[in-house]
Symmetry: C2
Subunit: 336 residues, 2 copies
Amino acid sequence: MARANGSNSGKVTIQSVADLAGVSIATVSRVLSGNENVREDFAVKVREAALKLHYTPSASAQGLAKGRSFTVGILIPDLSNPYFPDVVKGIHNLSTLSNYRLLIADSDGNPEDELSIIKDMLRHVDGIILISPRMSVNDLKSLENVANPVVLINRMEPGVGLPSVGVDNFSAMSELIGHLSSLGHKQIAFLSGPKESWQQRERSRAVLHASNFGIIVEEVPTGGNISAGARALDIAMASKATAAICFNDLVALGVLSRAAELGIRVPEDLSVTGFDDIEFSSFSNPPLTTIRSPQVALGEAAWRILEGELSGKRGNHQPLMVAEVVIRNSTGKSPR
Amino acid sequence: MARANGSNSGKVTIQSVADLAGVSIATVSRVLSGNENVREDFAVKVREAALKLHYTPSASAQGLAKGRSFTVGILIPDLSNPYFPDVVKGIHNLSTLSNYRLLIADSDGNPEDELSIIKDMLRHVDGIILISPRMSVNDLKSLENVANPVVLINRMEPGVGLPSVGVDNFSAMSELIGHLSSLGHKQIAFLSGPKESWQQRERSRAVLHASNFGIIVEEVPTGGNISAGARALDIAMASKATAAICFNDLVALGVLSRAAELGIRVPEDLSVTGFDDIEFSSFSNPPLTTIRSPQVALGEAAWRILEGELSGKRGNHQPLMVAEVVIRNSTGKSPR
DNA sequence: CTGTTAGCGCGTTCAG
DNA sequence: CTGAACGCGCTAACAG
């Protein structure tokens, strides 16, 4: 296919378009950026030329000239956890409207790598959203002084002056335990998640709180994913627990799977609960009692904050969003 | 916290570092890009200054000056399908080694949006990988002439001159049908996926092929996700099918869920198969017979091709990768 | 309304 | 081995 070019060699720049249209680069720039004050026939010529040459402005050059890249970075602990893509969807929904692109990085579960990944991202983007970051408080604090805005999702740290949104894990988890308690459960196993996770700490707090009310809790640490959940069940069953409260849906799904293998009936022999309400949880066998966390809304809220910071307006926001208990068939009356 | 600055106002540039270190910006550039030929004491001063000022080179400026952004774009039809993140992991594994970042975009299942998203990405990146693109052949062809390399995953189109890798859907699906056939199944329902999907077309081809061998096939179209699978089962059961071959694991998981609701036993009453072998499939109840597609390897292969194109070497590659049948407990002898 | 021009921050010759 | 100077492609004053 023919490489139609203004005059220069190979790459088509704003100059090529200007040449072909017979105007100056300034006019091209105006037309393409939607500036009104251009004679209509010039504008037409420019648009035609741009189309013909397949001209697309260089993002680097625009970024350099304007001082903004119109790109925001997102850091995710683990892309393969279905929870996170939903949050990203929320961000994406709104950021697209403002003509922003998303630079997504995955820290692959290594809290130590997060900071360097962020530092690198910062060079490319106008702002950053960190989803459930697991990095140390110190690293987090060091982000207070970077040039571009940083917004946190699901990480509220008292000493850290970074805007953030998150779900009210504590209340939701307390409510869930209440549900179990009303079903007569007195001994439960808590299959906990990664300790670097703020959500884990909050959920754990609620669970421990329950022991004040006569409920016996045994904690079984897990990695927070499906296979970890499956492995943890064997340990949990060694206790007298009649219910397994899982850190998240992935762990719960693993438990369900292992229970089926072992011939443990859910919920007759054992009640199981998750957290997050990822899509799979309503299609498991049995469907999972869990907590619906507003992933999409969380992403949208984070975007609004970030956009505010980007445009200088630092609005105030509701940091904690409510999550509601969803009762399905994986929980039932205590067998004893 | 104090904003230590060389002399200028606010942002710290290479000039700030040069000033503080008492050298020229050229020297700073050399040191920071690992150039050997610099007096050691200068180098030390520069590094100290950079550290002290928290200097990070602007990606836009570097990109403009070097003509490369060291960013590659990835287009995904749907972030929430667990299949795709695994492919991304594969790309990420290798691209990180070469110091490339990933710009990820989600077309949200709209084939018509893909082209414009790609066009926009092209301005930012040095190359693009399209995962299971659903855009029209014409749109695809228009990508042959863009300045930067484009690599396809899971989309082999005869007339399109773009390098690509994919799994051998046809052979794997044929093998799977053979498995079912050997279990005595003669009537199967094919719960198909989105028709824009190349994988769908290939898998469908294998299924139709089976009708040559005395197997009666009824196709039930689905959207390719869990809830669609659940809905489709009701329709599929209207036929006399003893087995449901599903477009992918998501559909199969939906079927499993709905079957449990309806009291249809799997595999006693109905055999169910998936495709992809996402992690959930080995933890479903019952575990799913499916086809293991090498997601990560696919991503890695695509990266190798892209990296080759980026450095001018256009190596040849093996376009089709094998996928193997994984037999679990969702398939069994035909009830009749 | 249009063209000229001065940066944006950095890499890279090219003299010294 | 070092620094001055130019150019990357584009936007945004500033003149005309």
